[in-house]
Symmetry: none
Subunit: 191 residues, 4 copies
DNA sequence: AATGAATGAGGATTCATTCAT
DNA sequence: GATGAATGAATCCTCATTCAT
């Protein structure tokens, strides 16, 4: 029983199913059929709405980055003081929303996708730039000119912890991860 | 006319071709045929020597880790003093042998493979453990009990820089990468 | 807001779009969706009006043959004398209405369709019979009993020129084509 | 039980099966699977040997044109005198080898293919040029400067008869067809 | 030792067609 | 009258893998 206005619903379902499926498989080697089945529709409909497999993956990636970006912005609003802002950025990255096994797996595979797809590359670059810029902005009042270099190291450290977590098969622990980055931060800003 | 003793030569050629092909493709989505062609033999022979696609990838991975491990050991032999040992470990990771576009791409994909293959997971875990243990061993004389935690952060930072480099399409710069990690090290050990 | 009496308008739009689309594609390999989009409606509506893809093609074919037939009849009305009648038939076939790249492509594909579809076969047979009969009727006063055989040759020559034109990628030239057929006619009737 | 040197055998079988299948279907709308099955192999093997569907069709086309060309050359060798040469060319086109229902259907579809495929277009153009040149060469001693124009008409007439035959569902009659063209020839050269 | 031959399985994609609204 | 929603079927193509030679 077809209804009107299904498009956004279907698209959202496919995006969600894609992230879950990539998380399960641990790689981009998932068929459109599987994704569509998980989203409760035929693969033909998935193609109809997205135009192709790449577009589905890119939509999932955009969604992940959007959620991440929203969480960071939300945390920044709540923060008071530069140090608190930097911590907020770090904690947002390791929140329960983002630092989950399937999402981490998805991230890892987005990096792989970025080596082939220009659009994926662009999206990840935007993410990296934004992370760096957020960190730098928060660090400047604390350490002045060194903010840029330190921001780069903080960003790499965050990504590195993600990568290690991608390997781990244990349950993830965002608090522990945050604590590690904040410890490094303390050293960098000399506290 | 087939020759005797070809096996090690063929295997080495396949391993090399695999890394190159994965580097070119940017993903594990490379066919055995392509790898075999690049290595100058039929795909049937590749199967004959390795038994299957997974085995070929694992051999390439083992090779990469072996080369990395050898380089670290070599650098440690030359080092004198704890600080020098830690720096040697860091510099080995960013040497011209390891920190190359195709090898970095291979690493990234090994992480993906580790989510599926137990053997790949084991290999990467061994690498991580060894890196951590090497760093910790070098750091202990310098910072005592904090060595474990700092080693974890150094290791994550190294991996994070690899990950960022995997995204970059510019030529890689190992010296710059080493400098960043060493700067963080200085902060951590309080110099 | 749907209007009354849309049926003939929609049908005509679809027929026109079909010929154009077949002309562009150069084959019957055009989807109903494309035709419908070109005609400014949904593919579902196209099905509603015609019942299926085959019916759409057949309608386009009928239209083409109808236009051709009308043009021949019109030309015959104007002609005076047997020779003039034969020339009129020939010229009508190469008029600007019929001898156009897209229409020629459509004809060619109708021949293909006729091998599968009985109705298409019937339509083309009717066209051939009528052409032959028209030519024969015009020729009889000029050459008597030989009219049948000569008409057959004239008809085949006309079709052959169409076929050659279907291959050509240059702009078509109806005048030149008519001249060729009329030259052959002259030889046949001995002038 | 795989054997060596199968390639030419497989390719020939596929070409033959393609012509037969296109003849049966009356259109290019035949799947590689059907062709391969008719040729007694898997569709994967067909792809292996030809690289793709288009290549299979082009090979069938090349084969058809080659056979036709060989037959014409053979007939020309036997001919003595200009008139006999022209007749030989005509008769070769309507021989039992070429003027068969399935081959005629294949020809018709090659014309369709030529609208899309550059290579198909090139092949058909070569055929047309050669036919024209052969006819012209034979006609020149008989009618001098008019040879070019007459050759064009003869060629178009031959193609037109093919086209008409493509529509016919009766058994084809090469002798009758030749006779028609030769009758036109007689008129053109004034006998 | 080495390879050409061969295939079954699977996957992306397209499309005609139907149906509820 | 008109359309968005939806799908099953079909098709091309790729690939890992096996086997006889």
């Amino acid at each position: 029983m077809p209804k009107l206005g299904m498009e956004p619903i279907r698209r959202a379902a496919l995006v969600k199913a894609t992230i879950a499926e990539v998380g399960d498989a641990g790689s981009l080697d998932v068929s459109v059929s599987r994704i569509a089945k998980r989203a409760g529709m035929s693969s033909a409909l998935a193609h109809h709405y997205f135009g192709g497999k790449d577009q589905i993956f890119l939509a999932a990636m955009r969604h992940t980055l959007t959620v991440y970006g929203a969480e960071v912005r939300g945390a920044l609003v709540m923060a008071d003081g530069p140090r608190s802002r930097v911590e907020a950025i770090i904690r947002a990255g390791f929140s329960n929303t983002n630092f989950r096994a399937d999402v981490i797996a998805a991230w890892l595979n987005f990096y792989v996708m970025a080596r082939t797809s220009d659009e994926a590359h662009r999206l990840l670059t935007v993410y990296q730039k934004r992370l760096h810029s957020n960190l730098q902005h928060g660090l400047r009042p604390l350490i002045g000119a060194r903010a840029g270099a330190v921001a780069a190291r903080m960003a790499a450290l965050i990504d590195g912890i993600y990568l290690r977590q991608a390997l781990s098969r244990d349950a993830v622990d965002g608090a522990e991860a945050s604590a590690q980055v904040i410890a490094a931060l303390d050293k960098e800003i000399g506290q």
